[in-house]
Symmetry: C2
Subunit: 273 residues, 2 copies
C-alpha cells in the first residue's frame, strides 16, 4: 500500500531535502527510519526538493510498504524516532495511482525578512536580516508583473537543468510584519532558486536600487540581467496543493488553474490539514 506523510522541518541544520554524500538531509532521516522498520531499503518521494537551509511548513512524501500500520501508528513510529527539527503532522493511506510529485499542482512559498539595527542571533537560520528602508507599494506593484504564465529563465539559477521554464504565478503579495516583511507567492511550480531570485528582485526595487523592469526582464530570458539570489534562510515551503479545490481556496476567484497532470486520485479527497 502507499502511504502519504505530511511533514514540517526546520531547514537550518540540513543540507537540503535530498540525500547528499555528506551532511544531514531530511530524506536520509526518513529513509533511515523506514529501513529499520522494513529491514530493507524503502525509497521516499517528496512533492518538492527543498535546498540547503530552506524550511518546510508543509511538505509531502509518499512511499510503498507491505507493513499494515494505522496512520496513527505510522505517525508515532516516525515522530518518536525523528530528530527535533522534523515532525510528521499527518499520515494517510493513498491510492497507488497517486504520486506526491506528479500530482502536485501548486505550491506556496513564504520568504521572511526582518529589519533591525543589528543582526538578531535568535533569528539566525530562520529569517533574513535586511536593514534597509523598503517601499512596500513599489514591491507589491512589481510583484504583479510576475502573475500569469511566463518563461522564468531570467529568474532561475543558470544551473537549472529542466528545459521547460514556463511556470504560472497565481498570487504574489508583500506584507508588513511586526519587524519586517513577508513575501508570499503561489504558483504552479518553481524553478531552481526562482523564489529567492524574485524576492531579491523585489527587495532591490523596494530599496530603490533598481527600477521596476520586471516585465522586460521576463521577456529577456537571461539570468545575468536579473539581480542576486536572496539567502536560503528566510525561505519557507508553506503549502503544497494536491487538488484544484485546495488551490482555488487560496487564489483570487476565477483564476484559471493549470493542471498538467490531471489529479487522478485525489480530486475528491480534501487536504490533510
Amino acid at each position: 500500500m502507499r502511504i502519504l506523510l505530511q511533514l514540517t522541518y526546520n531547514g537550518a541544520n540540513f543540507q537540503g531535502f535530498q540525500i547528499q554524500n555528506e551532511g544531514r538531509t531530511v530524506q536520509y532521516e526518513l529513509e533511515r527510519i523506514l529501513k529499520r522498520m522494513h529491514r530493507d531499503f524503502v525509497r521516499i518521494h517528496p512533492s518538492s526538493r527543498t535546498d540547503k537551509g530552506v524550511h518546510a511548513l508543509c511538505q509531502y512524501v509518499h512511499f510503498d510498504t507491505h507493513l499494515k500500520l494505522t496512520p496513527d501508528k505510522w505517525q508515532h513510529a516516525f515522530n518518536s524516532a525523528l530528530p527535533d527539527d522534523i515532525y510528521i503532522t499527518a499520515v494517510r493511506e493513498i491510492p497507488e495511482t497517486f504520486h506526491s510529485r506528479y500530482d502536485c499542482i501548486g505550491k506556496a512559498y513564504r520568504y521572511k525578512i526582518y529589519q533591525a539595527p543589528h543582526r538578531d542571533v535568535m533569528k539566525t537560520g530562520l529569517e533574513t536580516w535586511y536593514p534597509y528602508d523598503l517601499d512596500l507599494v513599489k514591491m507589491n506593484e512589481a510583484a504583479q508583473a510576475f502573475l500569469g504564465t511566463h518563461d522564468f529563465t531570467s529568474f532561475c539559477s543558470a544551473k537549472t537543468e529542466i528545459d521547460n521554464k514556463e511556470r504560472t504565478i497565481y498570487s504574489f503579495t508583500v506584507t508588513k510584519t511586526r519587524d519586517g516583511y513577508d513575501f508570499h507567492v503561489i504558483g504552479s511550480g518553481f524553478l531552481y532558486n526562482m523564489v529567492r531570485i524574485m524576492v531579491q528582485h523585489l527587495l532591490d526595487i523596494g530599496q530603490g536600487r533598481r527600477q521596476d523592469d520586471t516585465t522586460a526582464l521576463l521577456a529577456a530570458r537571461d539570468r545575468k540581467k536579473a539581480g542576486k539570489t536572496a539567502p536560503a534562510e528566510g525561505l519557507y515551503l508553506e503549502k503544497i496543493y494536491l487538488t484544484p479545490e485546495e488551490l482555488a481556496e487560496d487564489i483570487p476567484p476565477g483564476t484559471k488553474i493549470i493542471t498538467k497532470n490531471t489529479p487522478k486520485s485525489l480530486t475528491t479527497a480534501p487536504g490533510m490539514l
Copy 2:
C-alpha cells in the same frame, strides 16, 4: 588596555561558552579572532559560562590587549569575522581593575516554554515544548519561596563543585506569553543547572504533579528530593548586572543588594545597552 565586549549568541549550535576538546564554543570563536589579530594567544574572561544549548541575550567578556583600536573598530573587527550566531552589541575600554566575572553582582535569566498540540520545529533549540495545562497562580506562588538568601543545594546539579551554595534571589516571576509561559529570575548568581531545576520544579507544581514544597526542599539541601532539570534550549542569559544601580532598576524598590566584591571601577559607569 582592557576591553569589555557585550555580546549575544544563539546557543543552539554551540557546546556551550567554554572551550571543549570537541565541538563549537563561543570562547573558541572569540579567541580565534583575537589570535589572528594579535598573532598571539589572548585569553578572554566571560561574566558567565553558559552551558551547551543555552542562549545569551547579554553576556560580557573582557580581554587585555596592546592594540590601539577604537570601540567601533573592535566591534567591526569581531562582527565581520564572527559566525551568524554570535554578535557583538557594544564595546568599551575599561579600567584594568575591572573583571567581568568578579565584578558581576547579579544576573537575570529567562526560560521560555511554548504550548501547542505538536512540536513546532521552527522553535527547535529556542523554546521548550511543554504541552500540559499549567496553573499560573500556583507557579507564581511557589516562585516567591525562592526569594531572599538560601542554600540552593537542592536546586543545583549534584556535580556542582563550588562549596558555598548560598545565593540570593531578588525577583522570580512567571508570565503568560502569546503561546506559552516565560520564567524570569534575577539573582546574585546561579549554581550549575540552578535555573533549569527551579523552572522544572515550578512546572511540576503548575501541572499539579507536585505539591508546593519549595520551602521544605530548600531546607532539605538534597538534590535528590527536587525534580528533574528542564532542557537547556529554553534558557536565556538575559542580563548581567555590573553595577548596583543597574540591578536596582530591575528589582523591587528597597531590596538589599548583596555585593561580595564591591564594584571598584564601574559604580559610576552606566550599563552599555
